[in-house]
Symmetry: C2
């Protein structure tokens, strides 16, 4: 059976499911940012979402769309970070058990938060075992349902609700940028934007060190990285797009760009020192693209930027505030 591609109707259905549960996060603006970019920039603040990232939208939507009898058998997920917390929190809100397979070297804040939301965390050594296999084994043993991190119609539709809210709040955009790990946020963003603001250019942003989807987009052939890239954007250490996200990115996205980790450091510092906001390195990929010049909007253009998350260890924030020289604390 071919997996189902999500449509705008799925985003609309997701909005109804998450309403009153997910935060309708604020749109942040900055005179300093606008002056630097030469455009009007609207930041969708998903670092202020429940559990600190957009991932809650997709996870909650997926659980909400399940048959109650299926959902009650429990949930399994594998994730290096925010998807773990998202599934853990969504499961707790539905009163069902969750088991999360996480790499042992995931940021401490994310491991602790996932357990804090009541999930059972199964740690694995990424050099020795594949998380997909571990998750599938747990699934088979317990009857639990797997909520994949990005390659699922309900997950993608849920992530698309952030862009839908942004466009509803600020009106049509000239361009809209989203960060890219496995492509779930970008795919959902594109599905929402292409209906709500058809002239809007949708742009995906990856770290230079993890440019698999940029290359897949340009060659129209799915590129898979040999190993997780050593970027500080820990949410973008995925090896490749999924079947659905590859199709959606190729069909709906206008451009893919990459930014170096140094631009992520600069963007996190800008967010902290100028905007007084704590955003994680993965969370500022799209912001870094406009701040660092990887994307150059026309003068006065209306630019949407999805800030995807704000969960960052204190040690990583210290390293960034110190200027980001040398090896990062969580490389």
């Amino acid at each position: 059976m071919t997996p189902r591609l999500p449509t705008f109707a799925d985003v609309t259905a997701a909005r109804a499911r998450i309403e009153g549960v997910a935060h309708r996060t604020p749109v942040l603006t900055s005179r300093t940012l606008d002056a630097r970019v030469g455009a009007r920039v609207f930041l969708k603040g998903e670092h202020l979402q429940r559990m600190g990232a957009f991932k809650f939208r997709g996870a909650y939507n997926t659980l909400a769309a399940m048959e109650p009898g299926v959902r009650s058998k429990g949930i399994v997920a594998f994730s290096s970070g925010n998807h773990a917390q998202a599934v853990a929190l969504a499961s707790r809100l539905f009163g069902v058990r969750s088991t999360i397979v996480m790499p042992a070297n995931a940021p401490h804040a994310k491991l602790a938060a996932t357990e804090g939301y009541g999930a059972t965390v199964v740690r694995y050594d990424p050099a020795e075992s594949r998380r997909e296999e571990l998750a599938r084994r747990i699934q088979q043993e317990t009857g639990a349902s797997l909520v994949p991190p990005f390659d699922h119609a309900d997950v993608i539709a849920g992530q698309g609700t952030a862009a839908a809210e942004l466009i509803e709040d600020v009106g049509p955009l000239d361009m809209l940028l989203a960060c890219v790990g496995g492509g779930g946020l970008l795919s959902g963003t594109a599905v929402a934007a292409k209906t709500m603001s058809p002239a809007c250019r949708v742009i995906g942003v990856e770290p230079e060190l993890g440019d698999d989807i940029t290359r897949s987009f340009r060659t129209k052939a799915l590129v898979t990285l040999p190993k997780p890239p050593a970027t500080i954007a820990d949410g973008a250490r995925t090896l490749s797009a999924g079947e659905l996200t590859f199709k959606l990115v190729c069909a709906l996205v206008d451009e893919m760009v990459t930014v170096p980790d140094t631009a992520l450091v600069e963007a996190v510092r800008f967010a902290m020192l100028t905007m007084k906001q704590v955003m994680e390195p993965t969370g500022v990929l799209a912001l870094a693209a406009v701040l660092g010049g990887a994307v150059k909007p026309a003068a006065g253009a209306r630019v949407g930027v999805i800030v995807s998350g704000g969960n960052c260890d204190a040690t990583m924030l210290q390293w960034i505030l110190a200027g980001g020289a040398g090896a990062p604390p969580n490389g």
Copy 2:
């Protein structure tokens, strides 16, 4: 001539003057914070105000209330930090020259930002000269008007607009906490709250190391510290209340409490890691009082907390993220 005490009508007039110029800052809430405090806490986010602190309200209101012929001769101010930036920005918006007398050891971010807003900064060594005298000399030489940091009816009325907005946004409060340097914010807060939410207890919060107004409030005699206290709350290094703020605090405030610098470190960390907000040490005095237990609201009480600012050097934020052990970088 006895200086004029501000009334609620002055706060109302200030609101009209700053409307569309100052940000109506958001009210921030946190499930985690509410759970820790056992109350409903509403944070008024003045770290998101223009120039990064509530001080813009009082400075802009004071300039707006001046006769244009007086204002055009220029503005002088002395300040260790945020008042400097506030007067510099307000002066620029009115197109008038400003000269700011600042201690040479003020946080670098605040010195640079003040110059960035177009002010002429006169640095002085706090061990060798008194800033009031320097400011007065400039005033006499140029004909400029002095905008004092807190002891002025228009400054106090301007600061009171933050509490007025908060109460208008969330409704009556059981208690409302504000940080205290010279008492301008607390005085304005009390003037606003006692009319708009008469049953609300108004509480001022000082650093333990700089408890002059707490002692003045308790003894009803103006206490002056012999030298600036060595607290990391650099905005609360004032030596004493002013004539007006002493009167208003004694007349309208219900309670004064102090918090140790360790509680400020904890509160800044909480704001960054849990709420994803960057607040400066002075800015979290009131938050630290509820987080650390210096003030214990009744279960389910509605508690307002004014977060006064977010301007903090990267080095100070690093030190705080590292746990705040040893000597602070800007002591």
